[in-house]
């Protein structure tokens, strides 16, 4: 990692699904640079390409053309397993539908990425506990997701993303399933993590209120970036 390299650098990213008549151009040459410590909100109508862009950022999807550099490393040159390693060590995910493992306690859910990091029982448990404490749920560690409210489940999911000490948390409509009070709590938590843990946050949302928590707003339209403005100085 060189100090000069931005954390995330997309240049000319194009994503085409299908071919011929059925061809869908989800991304049409996206250029985006995100520096460490930013809190970026991505907005746009459905079908604007923001979710595809998130999948590319999360190394879950590979672009058809263009380059993606993560901390200066060309992600395009990595194979499936190397991308998994990148996700494991540098990225954390928060999804709209929480995506917790059912019939598995909150603590075990948070431990999941740590298992793949190769951490052993005791250390793993401790890190997971710490992550649950940061989201204020240490008292619910042994509850199954089905015993937790939506807001609590999302906080467990954030703890899971946090446990691996990632550089970036990618949140895809994290408040999409929550009422406004719980939504604000989640946004406050993400802001708190951005400030105190120095974690870069990239969040897709279609709610202006939620986007206002971010320091930078990127707008997608028809597969391209149509707007990119700093709304607040990064903390």
């Amino acid at each position: 990692m060189t100090a000069a390299a931005p954390l995330i650098e997309l240049s000319g990213i194009t994503k085409i699904y299908g071919s011929g008549e059925a061809e869908v151009r989800a991304l049409r040459g996206v250029d985006l640079t995100i520096r460490a410590g930013e809190f970026v909100a991505i907005m746009g109508a459905s079908g604007s390409g923001k979710s595809t862009a998130m999948n590319v950022l999360g190394c879950l999807d590979t672009p058809t053309a263009g380059t993606y550099r993560f901390e200066g490393v060309d992600v395009g040159g990595l194979d499936r397993d190397q991308r998994a390693l990148l996700r494991r060590n540098y990225l954390g995910f928060v999804f709209q539908g929480y995506n917790l493992l059912p019939r598995t306690s909150a603590l075990e859910n948070v431990e999941l990425p740590l298992i793949y990091k190769g951490l052993q029982g005791g250390e793993r448990r401790q890190l997971a506990q710490e992550a649950l404490e940061k989201v204020g749920l240490s008292h619910r560690a042994h509850h199954d997701p089905s015993e937790l409210s939506g807001g609590q489940q999302q906080r467990v999911a954030i703890a899971r993303a946090l446990a691996g000490k990632p550089d970036v948390i990618l949140a895809d409509e994290p408040t999409g399933n929550l009422d406004s009070k719980r939504s604000r709590e989640i946004m406050e938590l993400l802001t708190e993590l951005n400030i105190s843990e120095k974690i870069t946050i990239v969040m897709v949302t279609h709610e202006e209120d939620m986007a206002s928590y971010a320091g930078r707003l990127v707008t997608f339209l028809d597969g391209s970036i149509s707007g990119d403005k700093i709304t607040r100085k990064a903390g």
């Binding site: 879950l60 397993d81 998994a84 390693l85 996700r87 060590n89 995910f93 995506n99 793949y116 691996g164």
Partner: protein
């Protein structure tokens, strides 16, 4: 990491205990069937060998014809005479006892009771050669044998069937139109492994049999014991030469009688048992295959059901190999559990069967080990395909799966 994977697999299996149990039922039944078949097969093989050895391995059965042993010994072939047996005993140094006897099926009647049984015409020589003991009364006397008196000894089954609590000695048993006095009861010998009740018989002196039942001087079998230290092969050669001469068979003509070595008989019988065991076990092994397919089926369902879980694991950084290993280990643990249950069930069944069939219970460590290894192999083979499918999933698709 591997230990962790095994722990996770066990957790996943016990998260849905009933389904896991139903999944492995095929393996359980397959392994149990193989274990039970092989164990019972080996037990009965031992029993057959023991049975035949109890007849004495140094004994030969001489019978008319070339067809081997026939029921009752009656064949179209020329029978023997008492003189043949006497000549064998007197002229051949290799022969210790040559006991002539004949057999037929007959209804034994006592009062209003009757019982269909085997009737042997045999003298004390046969009882000696076959090591028959008396539990009640006495064997025939020389006088009774020479004169062909109407006396008989009965087996334990006959005593139970016809007499119950009455002491049969001194009672009169009717065999066709022959009324004979019971002088003794034979010691119980039990049922052989081929299901033959050795105590279901009545014996009368050979001469009585010839005169009053058969109506001729024929002897249908000669039970021969070989003198200690003499090879059965030598005895067989000598008997063949003597009988050919006595039956005036010219050189070039084939024997019209056969001599069966009981040891050979034992070998043949245990051979048959082994073939049967193998056959039944391979049929049982097919059910293992079916069980394996059952595991694959459920694992495929499980992979589909857990698509989202796979997506989550991939998102948090699981590599394809780790997902593959997870599902593969789950399949292996599942089939090993099935194998273990099957082994326990199979051994229990075999023990029960051995008890009912009164054969020795002979669990064999190597077959148990083999069954266990086989169930692991079933897990690997039939778990691989679903596991690979899981490992190749596209994380985005998987996460989107409802």
């Amino acid at each position: 990491m591997l230990w962790e994977t095994v722990r996770l697999a066990v957790q996943a299996i016990f998260r849905n205990t009933l389904r896991s149990f139903l999944t492995v039922l095929g393996i359980v039944i397959g392994v149990a069937a193989v274990i039970a078949m092989v164990t019972v097969g080996q037990g009965s093989q031992q029993q057959v060998t023991a049975d035949v050895e109890s007849l004495g391995t140094n004994t030969l059965m001489v019978m008319p014809g070339q067809g081997g042993m026939q029921s009752g010994g009656f064949t179209a072939d020329r029978a023997f005479t008492r003189a043949d047996a006497e000549a064998m005993e007197e002229e051949l140094s290799s022969v210790e006892i040559a006991a002539p006897y004949s057999m037929t099926s007959i209804a034994a009647v006592y009062g209003n009771e009757n019982h269909f049984t085997q009737l042997a015409g045999a003298d004390k020589s046969l009882m000696l050669a076959m090591e028959w003991k008396m539990s009640l009364g006495r064997p025939f006397t020389d006088v009774e044998e020479k004169a062909g008196r109407p006396v008989c000894v009965i087996g334990e089954t006959i005593r139970q069937e016809l007499f119950g609590n009455i002491d049969p000695v001194g009672e009169t048993l009717r065999l066709k139109n022959l009324a004979c006095e019971i002088v003794g009861v034979l010691d119980a010998k039990g049922v052989t492994s081929f299901g033959e009740d050795q105590d279901d018989l009545v014996a009368i002196p050979l001469k009585t049999f010839q005169r009053r039942i058969a109506g001729n001087d024929d002897v249908s079998l000669i039970y021969t014991t070989v003198r200690d230290g003499v090879s059965t092969e030598r005895a067989m050669r000598e008997i063949e030469v003597l009988l050919r001469e006595r039956r005036r068979i010219t050189s070039g003509e084939e024997d019209d009688f056969s001599i069966m070595d009981m040891k050979q008989f034992a070998t043949i019988l245990s051979g048959i048992t082994a073939v049967l065991t193998g056959l039944l076990s391979s049929v049982a092994a097919v059910s293992l295959l079916v069980g394996g397919i059952g595991i694959m089926n459920i694992m495929l369902v499980s992979v589909t059901e857990r698509t989202r879980e796979i997506g989550i694991r991939l998102a948090v950084g699981a590599q394809a190999g780790q997902v593959l290993l997870q599902f593969l280990v789950e399949a292996i643990v599942l089939s090993l559990l099935g194998g273990a249950l099957g082994i326990i069930l199979g051994l229990a069944l075999a023990a029960l069967a051995a008890n009912l069939m009164s054969i020795p219970f002979t669990p064999d460590a190597s077959i148990v080990f083999l069954a266990f290894a086989f169930s692991a192999a079933v897990g690997v083979v039939f778990g691989y395909f679903p596991a690979r499918r899981a490992a190749r999933m596209d994380p985005i698709e998987a996460l989107r799966h409802q």
